[in-house]
Symmetry: C2
Subunit: 146 residues, 2 copies
DNA sequence: TTTTGCTGTAATTCAGATGATTACATCAGA
DNA sequence: TCTGATGTAATCATCTGAATTACAGCAAAA
């Protein structure tokens, strides 16, 4: 199964905030227009980012501010804020292997550490990128676009 | 979103086949009992593994045989056989970013390579494990169980 | 103080995926 | 020809993702 587009939407949001915060009032409607989705979807994602302590949202007046430096927020932070994995496990395990079968009662002992290693490899790569990379990357792109 | 339990079920199947093929007739009913699910679920997964060329299934009489050596089938091979990712992308992207927005029309250029790198990190780790690891691992566990 | 524009959130809807199950046609060997 | 398998269609319940409507609450400007 694919990872929900909420993650790329969140990265899109951060890029917009950084790119436009000087010249525009970045509201959920503004973001919804750039991302081409519904403002409520945006607000729900903003609520998760807020709950994770990555941003603050100004009630009433509108506007989004980060709580840390761009370089202090990694893709992994965003991913964790957005995707609440059940038990923190990327791989879903079949619920009830048969304990009366030698393989069934030991399949977790056999697989758990390997699945975890695979998940960790992905998460470690997620930690390599930060929102600062989004800023510099987008600025480069916009520069060459002129 | 979590990765479907079909993947761990498939690994469970391979472990059972290797562990029991000498002393039992390993049918979809047999496997369903060990995994504690429905035989039809098993057959559907077997069909995918067969289509991917990893196994052969004896019609009528029953029985599963691998087409290659255990060490020649990696977790990644199994994963690819089981999980048909749309376009091969682990991360789903929001469908229609606004091309009239500077960020919207460049968000793919900004993110695609990074998302791909993260996916590749996970896939490379999947390639590190093979069914041979399952054999040796399970044999060790069963040895200490005595 | 009232208006305006925004956020927060509940409720609904629709589509698609997952997993379980029944039913049955088909096949191969005893 | 029986028996025990696989192959597969069809159905169902449940869950999740994404979109949408509706409205209460808040803060600042008029």
């Amino acid at each position: 199964m694919q990872i929900s587009s909420r993650f790329t939407v969140a990265l899109h949001i951060f890029t917009c905030v950084d790119t436009f915060k000087e010249n525009y009032k970045v509201t959920s409607d503004f973001l919804a227009a750039s991302i081409n989705t519904n403002p409520v979807i945006i607000r729900k994602i903003l609520a998760k980012l807020k709950k994770a302590g990555l941003i603050k949202v100004a009630r009433g007046t509108g506007g989004i501010t980060l709580t840390r430096d761009l370089s202090e927020i990694s893709f992994f932070d965003v991913y964790q804020a957005i995707e609440p994995l059940e038990g923190g496990d990327l791989f879903r395990f079949h619920e009830a292997p048969n304990p009366d079968c030698p393989v069934g009662r030991n399949i977790h002992a056999l697989l758990d550490d390997k699945l975890k290693a695979i998940q960790t490899a992905m998460e470690d790569e997620l930690k390599k990128y930060t929102l600062a990379d989004l800023r510099t990357g987008m600025r480069e792109i916009l520069e060459t676009e002129k």
